[in-house]
């Protein structure tokens, strides 16, 4: 993949905290640190996978980047503009150039609106095409996501989950976005439909060249679709790098355990040995030191004290662990 010099998206030290503020300081509850000092970049046309357990802050991060959710501090440079401190005009530009695909294909569509109308609305609001060409463009978009233009007259209730997800993608594409955030967009679909949607996204990426932040917990799909992958644990990125490197040579014990936990389809191989035990600690009370140390099989005494380790490494593949990359294999 050819990569241009300047990144499309550059997130620096992004924090998203919930609660913990009150007019009277003594009444302030605990702070939920959903996203904790996350920095990442996305190049134009690149697909970045964001993986991690539920509650690791992947969705919160995705929503904060699109400015749908709140953020506490940090910088979100989109095409050179800091969207964390966006003016109304900046925000309008962000909305015109980004889109989101949701997990629940039905929930993402207005049940009272016909599919064609939902897509036409985007074209009309953003004045993408002249009024008399809207119908043709809607048909074109539906064809692009593999739906017959006759579906324009259907309501979401009449469609299957996979069809609804295609409509959701068509609506996102109507914006002609530079960046799409896909939040668990295949998790609610049947496995066979998942494959279709992933193939569709790969095909569209080739044709349109938008960047995708692909939030998922299914590692096999991420490996197939993404150029790079970022592994999140309790609001922090613990490892980031080119997908193949991360998958074949993980540099963080958490990534290693995640990869070993992928069940094999071959019944002779049995289930993965010594899987990751326990639950992640509560983001309301993060442990000192590395947040992963209570569950880490390789934890050293110094892991439980001080600041959490920062992302280190040579080249694009970096991990937040004090152990050298060769020693994390369990």
């Amino acid at each position: 993949m050819s990569v241009k010099a300047s990144p499309l998206l550059e997130v620096t030290a992004l924090n998203v905290h919930f609660g913990g503020t009150s007019l009277i300081p003594a009444f302030a509850g605990p702070t939920l640190r959903a996203v904790n000092g996350v920095s990442l970049t996305v190049m134009p046309g690149e697909t970045l996978g964001l993986v991690g357990e539920s509650g690791s802050g992947k969705s919160t991060l995705g929503r904060a980047i699109l400015r749908i959710g709140d953020l506490t501090s940090g910088e979100i440079l989109f095409d050179g503009t800091d969207m964390a401190r966006a003016t109304v005009g900046d925000l309008a530009r962000l909305r015109r150039q980004t889109a989101m695909i949701f997990q629940d294909p039905y929930g993402a569509l207005n049940p009272r609106m016909r599919v064609g109308e939902a897509i036409a609305e985007v074209l009309r609001v953003h004045r993408k095409v002249p009024r008399d060409k809207i119908g043709a463009r809607v048909a074109e978009l539906l064809n692009l996501v593999g739906l017959d233009e006759g579906y324009a007259r259907s309501r979401p209730v009449d469609l299957s989950g996979g069809q609804c997800q295609r409509v959701g993608i068509a609506r996102a594409l109507a914006v002609e976005p530079k960046l799409i955030v896909a939040d668990e967009c295949v998790a609610a679909l049947d496995v066979s439909i998942q494959g279709q949607i992933i193939n569709l996204l790969m095909d569209l990426r080739e044709r349109i060249g938008m960047a995708i932040i692909f939030i998922a917990h299914d590692l096999a799909i991420v490996r197939r679709l993404c150029d790079r992958v970022a592994v999140m644990y309790l609001g922090r990125i613990v490892e980031i790098g080119p997908t193949e490197q991360v998958f074949t040579d993980p540099s963080h014990p958490y990534t290693a355990s995640l990869l070993r936990a992928i069940p094999d389809i071959d019944p002779d191989k049995g289930l993965p040995a010594n899987p990751l035990t326990g639950e992640p600690p509560s983001p309301l009370a993060l442990p000192c030191g590395c947040a992963f140390h209570p569950r880490c099989p390789k934890a050293l005494p110094q892991c439980s004290t001080g600041e959490p380790p920062s992302l280190e490494g040579v080249g694009p593949h970096r991990a937040a662990c004090i152990l050298p990359p060769g020693e994390i294999t369990i």
Binding site: L66, I68, L91, A92, R95, R96, T98, A99, M100, F102, Q103, D104, Y106, G107, A108, L109, N110, P111, R112, M113, E121, V122, V125, H126, V157, G168, R171, V175
Partner: protein, 285 residues
């Protein structure tokens, strides 16, 4: 989505079902339509002038000449019941429409924008609800001037709170759903999100509620007229007719019974329509 819309329809606690079909809808619609046609054709179908006093034919029981009998002024009950439909349908309509509009607008603003708008509005609603409904209505009507238009004003001032609470609750639920988040992420304006995405999904419960509310408004209108604060005599209205006939209830049962039956049938029509509508809209989702 299904669950949300269904809660709006299950409000009566019981459900009439006739083989699962939308029979209540048609039955209720037919009853209301029947009364509407009767009201419209009152000058044609009513056998007598509703306020003409035939002193010679006072307190006559139902007969071939007077099917529903006559009252203590010799007025034909059947004609008065038919003419009353004009007033009472009007009461049901205006007594619902104004609260519906005011409540929906204020409730959706409170639910969508939240913050201080929501806080202030909810406190106002608390204040209105703190007063007994009928007493507050009577107070407003007495301050204005007894009559039908004062009744509508009072109804609008008091009745909007139920709609506002209903719509606000629905908006709060729908606001966090993905399609509204999607609309925000696509850069739609507040008014577009409100009118195109939130309200069409939030208003269903209110529409169904407005039908059963029509029953309450109708009974309220009758009660207010009964108390002498609504429609003024000699105009024919079911509430007034019952009020006037009550002193003869032991000797001339027909004076109060027939307008009473009229109220019950129209109220049942609205009730059935509400149930059928709720069921139909619930099923369609």
């Amino acid at each position: 989505m299904t669950a949300i819309l269904r809660t709006g329809t299950g409000r009566t606690g019981f459900r009439l079902s006739f083989g699962g079909g939308p029979l209540p809808l048609y039955l209720g619609g037919a009853i209301i339509l029947g009364w509407f046609v009767l009201a419209l054709l009152a000058p044609v179908v009513a056998p007598y002038d509703p306020i003409y006093q035939d002193v010679a034919a006072r307190l006559q029981p139902p007969s071939l000449a007077h099917w529903f009998g006559t009252d203590n002024f010799g007025r034909d009950i059947l004609s008065r019941v038919i003419w009353s439909a004009r007033i009472d349908l009007q009461i049901a309509l205006f007594g619902v429409v104004f609260p519906f509009i005011i409540g929906t607008v204020l409730g959706s603003c409170a639910g969508y924008f939240g913050g201080w708008i929501d806080t202030i509005l909810m406190r106002i609603i608390d204040v209105v609800l703190a007063f007994p409904f009928l007493v507050l209505m009577m107070a407003i009507i007495v301050i204005l001037k007894p009559g039908l238009s004062s009744f509508y004003v009072a109804m609008a001032l008091v009745g909007w709170v139920s709609y506002a609470r209903l719509v606000r609750a629905q908006i709060l639920v729908i606001k966090s759903s993905d399609f509204v988040v999607a609309a925000t992420s696509l850069g739609y304006s507040h008014s577009r999100i409100m009118f195109r995405h939130l309200l069409p999904n939030a208003i269903l419960g209110s529409v169904v509620f407005s039908m059963s509310d029509a029953v309450l408004v109708l009974l309220n209108g009758a009660a207010i007229s009964y108390l002498g604060l609504g429609v003024q005599p000699p105009t024919a209205e079911w509430g007034i007719m019952i009020a006037e006939g009550q002193s003869f209830i032991t000797s001339a049962w027909w004076i109060t019974t027939f307008p009473g039956i009229a109220i019950v049938t129209l109220a049942m029509g609205f009730s059935l329509l509400a149930d059928g509508l709720g069921e139909k809209l619930g099923v369609r989702e």
